[in-house]
Symmetry: C2
Subunit: 540 residues, 2 copies
């Protein structure tokens, strides 16, 4: 290595050699006029390294890596360091067990196969209680557990349409009298109580639990079939949840479930359906928003630790550009009426179908600047397809966040733009697996985002459909399966803080939110430390 | 968008607007003092874009992408452009069929399930005949088809050891008399002819075809089990192929099979076993090399279009550092004796086991500088493990290429170093799938290497074990499954040329090799064009 480096950098290296290792990189950062890592290595014949040169260089590169990933900017407090020790013991236990026998490593499997094992993992238990900040990607009717949804089928005046001689539930409807229209061949309407009697309460609950989830189909042959199945659940839920008196309760229950999972702030993407009443009449969209706001107000009164919730108007994308023009107008109107609640715009539904974002650009650009875009984009593995290109359009259209962006690591320029323009990616590990974009969390592209320190938050998507915790399973898979083995509490803290940083809250709102989150965070850390100390005490 | 940009870049944008689109990026490249893409977009409020601003910006970013991927530096000739049209028609046909029905897209499946479909694909047929340049990653006893290996079991004096009452073949041995040692419990030696009679020739061939491959196990539960199975094949082959009179024939046949698959140059990683004779005596390693050279000489005489072949000494990595010290000495000696043939050093075997490269650094650095390192590294999905760290060590130790480097996209700094130091990655798509690192080619990390234009070559590894063509299946999966839909003949040409560029040939050797390759390439292009013209003619 000596030769050229001797002239340019021997003194640098010897100073580095004197430093404690992590300082080596800091030294280079502090002396930007000195040669960069690339220059240093490039002007060097590495084959002439002495073993000492080799060790120093190795440490320099390693510390460059250490200082560039997500969380590198976080300084842990003393209690946090203590909690971190315990978290890393649990993490390493699972990791090393996995290296010994990869079949035992939960993130190497489909979530459906390891849901129960994960629930028993001490690491998961710790993460479950972790104050996670915000859940920035949720969808209006897939937030609640199926348990909660099944409870809702006990409401009065519910009718159910079945096919296959009562075997398959295809539609719900609240009505005073038996509905007359039949949208399903060979469908039959009956009161829900009657079906319950007929099939037996426990049996019907079990059936609905499967019917309202993607289980047991861990493996669909394609992403398209997984989508079809998922849309089937959404469709079935419409008749149940779009009943005006239920809509608010569903949302209230979602806030409750997320809050119990360590989430203090929610942004909900809603198609804002026109809700129906018992007589079949429909209410205008503004009523749907009003119901949201009323439920939120009630929830916040009853849960002072909760921060807030906002709404992103996110209608279905499978339409003509003119319709997007109408969406934009609706969003503008709703924002005028509910300026602190309806704060963003997106389009939802399987990206592969219908038009790409570029077709809607002209209409989209009419949205007033103060209403943010939070586009779904790049939820695909078709590299070079129009879905893949949505990523480019989302960015050029000025999106504030990207939902999924699964394909972004195949577009380094877009990845750099996201970093430069401070656009956060909403990474949804479990959703990506269930919708067949990847099978092993260790191959999830977000590993590159983490290494590159591209803004990202951990989100869940439709956790109700995969029986996952509102956000904890996604954090578990991201922390253990996607991030490097060395990612620790700094990673978790940065990710939690990011969720507030990249929320649609205004600056003052963010400061307040951070405070509320910090209070919970400190309590959580203190509790880990106390339990650890207690365990040590017990051992004595 | 206007506001700030108006001051800094309105004139730039208007000049851009006048350009044909691809020129926009070139303009920015030609005017490096002008604001960069990042600066331009960063100083811009994209939400204030007019539809025209949006379209221009979109095209600028797109053309940046177009000019940064692998192959962007290639200018196609007129005949190449014509051939490219046909290739892209076939590629798009498969791609679009796949988007319509993803279950029909070959790169979405395990190669074992689509081997026959792929063989019938017109795109594959074109790629099969493509002059691919060099195969830079091959292993001594996994290069030939099992058909060829089975032929070798017809040689005289071959004994076979079976267990389970003749049902399982566990060892081969050439000997005058029945071997006396038994390394397998319940093993029995018998002449190969006798086993053939006993089980029936056709049956035994069928059995061996399975026994000598990873089939039918498309899915092992873990990477470790896949490795164990593969090592079982290597072990079985030892007794057969390490017979001195056969070793050269195997290599000769490998050259023949690769050459027929469009490969004109091979670098073979060999453990250089001490070959045995009929009386059981062992020859020194230098004889193994001599046999290679004699066979190569014969092959080159008989195939003047073939370029050359070189050897990388690559003993097993599961040893103590002292042993690596001996390896290094052996390699130095062999290189002295065969300076134009033994040109590189590597260590092989499952990286997860034994010591990481860092443990061997001191010994490795003793290898004379003119013998190159071509390290295996990062063939794992354990991010942050010691296998993952081998990547760092390979680079800091001054490797010229990296075999696999599967995990490199999780290390952007190392990826940048590889690019800066001109270290090529040997990407082996099919091997990675069979050894359970990924299941869908569309998720292969090499997509990022392609987008970032990190030096890479397409390689195969152990094609004989997965019944794949020597290199064509890897090219097919890389071209259709990993690269973007838009990657075309420019990508293929750059990848083929890279294989010579990153070979261990000296500069003059490379120039000569390029010439020999170019001759075949032009013939191939001309043939595609002629067939296309003929087809058009026939239609009239």
């Amino acid at each position: 290595m000596a030769v050229q480096l001797a002239h340019r950098g021997r003194s640098l290296l010897s100073e580095l050699a004197k430093c404690a290792t992590p300082t080596a990189a800091r030294f280079l950062h502090r002396h930007p006029t000195e040669m960069t890592l690339l220059e240093m290595l490039g002007s060097t014949n590495l084959r002439r390294s002495t073993p000492e040169d080799y060790r120093i260089l190795r440490e320099i590169v390693k510390s460059f890596e250490r200082y560039s990933g997500v969380g590198n900017d976080i300084q842990l407090t003393l209690p946090e360091r203590s909690a971190n020790e315990l978290i890393m013991i649990e993490k390493k236990r699972e990791y090393e067990k996995g290296i010994m026998d990869p079949s035992k490593f939960a993130p190497g499997h489909h979530i459906f196969q390891v849901l129960h094992t994960v629930k028993q993992s001490p690491l998961f238990q710790v993460l479950r209680k972790m104050p996670k900040g915000a859940a920035l990607k949720t969808h209006d009717t897939s937030m609640c557990s199926s348990r909660a949804v099944i409870e809702m089928t006990y409401r009065e005046n519910l009718w159910v349409c079945t096919t296959h001689k009562g075997c398959r539930v295809v539609e719900f409807r609240f009505a005073k009298e038996k509905p007359k229209d039949l949208r399903h061949e060979d469908g039959e309407w009956q009161p829900m109580e009657k079906l319950r009697e007929l099939r037996g309460e426990e049996n019907l609950r079990k059936y609905l639990r499967v019917r309202l989830s993607m289980y047991p189909l861990a493996s669909f042959t394609t992403n398209a079939l997984a989508w079809r199945h998922m849309m089937g659940i959404f469709n079935l839920l419409d008749g149940l949840l779009q009943y005006a008196p239920l809509w608010g309760d569903y949302y209230y229950n979602a806030l409750k479930e997320f809050y119990a999972d360590g989430v203090q702030y929610l942004e909900v993407r809603s198609v804002l359906p026109e809700l129906y009443c018992l007589d079949g009449s429909r209410l205008p969209k503004r009523e749907t928003v009003q119901i949201y706001m009323d439920s939120l107000k009630r929830f916040k009164q009853e849960h002072p630790g909760f921060i807030d919730s906002k709404l992103i108007y996110a209608p279905i994308r499978h339409v003509q550009p003119e319709v997007v023009g109408q969406y934009v107008k609706e969003c503008t109107e709703l924002n005028k009426e509910f300026p602190n609640f309806v704060v963003g715009f997106d389009l939802v539904g399987q990206e592969d179908k219908g038009h790409p974002l570029s077709k809607f650009a002209e209409e989209l650009l009419k949205l007033p600047e103060h209403i943010n875009f939070y586009f779904h984009a790049g939820q695909t593995n078709w590299y070079g397809s129009h879905v893949d290109q949505n990523l480019l359009d989302a960015i050029v259209l000025g999106t504030k966040r990207i939902s999924h962006g699964y394909t972004i690591t195949k577009h380094p320029i877009l990845m750099r733009l996201a970093k430069y323009l401070n656009i956060a990616l909403e990474v949804c590990p479990v959703s990506n697996q269930v919708l067949q974009l990847g099978s092993d969390y260790r191959s999830h592209p977000a590993a590159t985002l983490i290494a590159e320190n591209v803004p990202m938050v951990v989100s869940s998507g439709n956790p109700g459909f995969w029986r996952a915790a509102p956000l904890s399973h996604d954090f578990y898979m991201a922390f253990l399966g996607i991030a490097p083995m060395t990612a620790d509490l700094k990673f978790l803290k940065r990710t939690a803080k990011n969720s507030i940083r990249y929320s649609s809250l205004k600056d003052e709102g963010k400061a307040e939110a951070m405070e509320k989150w910090k209070k919970e965070w400190d309590k959580w850390v203190a509790k880990i430390v106390a339990e650890k100390d207690q365990a040590l005490e017990d051992k004595k």
